[in-house]
Symmetry: C2
Subunit: 198 residues, 2 copies
Amino acid sequence: MSKKNAILLAATDLFSQKGYNGASMAELSRMTGAAGGTIFHHFRNKEDLFLNILGGIKETILDTFDQYLRDENFTNGMDLVEGAVSFYLQLAGQMQAQFLLLHRHFPYKMAETNPICRNYLESIYDCLLDIFEKGIVRGQKDGSIARVPARQSAMILFSMVDGIARFNTYQIYDAGALYNDLITTCRKMLGVAKAGQA
Amino acid sequence: MSKKNAILLAATDLFSQKGYNGASMAELSRMTGAAGGTIFHHFRNKEDLFLNILGGIKETILDTFDQYLRDENFTNGMDLVEGAVSFYLQLAGQMQAQFLLLHRHFPYKMAETNPICRNYLESIYDCLLDIFEKGIVRGQKDGSIARVPARQSAMILFSMVDGIARFNTYQIYDAGALYNDLITTCRKMLGVAKAGQA
DNA sequence: TAAAAAACCGACCGACCATTCGGTTGGTTT
DNA sequence: AAACCAACCGAATGGTCGGTCGGTTTTTTA
């Protein structure tokens, strides 16, 4: 593997574990075996290094969900929403370091002054919210989802799912067993009312 | 105001705005007018200072919700849950710096090695989850809430509400208009099914 | 009012920080 | 073989970090 790639990989772990200020270039140098100067040969500065990582995360997430929507075919809108919830939790488990990064505060702080950073974050959240919203709209056409406000419901749904993913990484509570309850909740909040529904 | 109190107040803002590593004792000294040595006269070290702040936040939250449960009287369990949701969002708006602190990653990182820190965080989340759970259990007795698993539903509800509160502080999206949708969702996920319910 | 205690000060310390820079490779182009 | 180049190195730099310490002021106690 090229040194540059090794730096990007190690820095993802380092930033996610220790935050922006806590991640030191000296430690990154030690982790990768790259000399201090080498890091600054490939990246203008620490912020540029982080933006490269965040840009990569954006690409991965957008591509992954794009692929997901193209490959799978769903019986209806509700099915799409449930699938997206499940897929999101699965992805968060696979890309732990990347999601931990997104769950930290410093990217959003940087976004206040850095438009590139802000753009990356907005792209990611737009993509995720759009998927939930698309599912809801589709479900309202095919009758599987009730007439709830689409965008708002997508945001509430997202904050719910992402909160559970966060519970897992913070490890204050074991949220792994919550998956079934989450899907049930999802059905209740979006589903059309039927006689006898609990 | 005593210097010690001024330090605690300013440090709360500083930690919440810049994180643990980003908050420097020199800047804290500048903000408060207290000399460097004075800070370390009142607090053993930086970590001790933070633990004092977190301990204060714990006390405030526990007392506030205790008071809330004692003062108000609710018509039923569902009413209690809805009130708690509303109260939580209101409190998060009033104690912005404190909630921003709780929404950062470093307290949970510190909790991995520091049992005092871990204890404070667990107390806070236990308190919050207990209120939702109590409301659900009470609602199941008085018939206002369906037979959902109480603790799990409380966790999902909490992660939903806290996610919305987080949306507000991150200011990526305007989540202020989500309050009504949130209460509606809350009713759907917990409420007993009625004929004609949407 | 004298003594003891607590609050407070700011210069100082070594460690560490992000970043720079002059120089060395090894491979490609001319 | 000369010129070029990106990748890489590691010592050096100026600045900031958390924390210490000896001494002064203010408050409390006896």
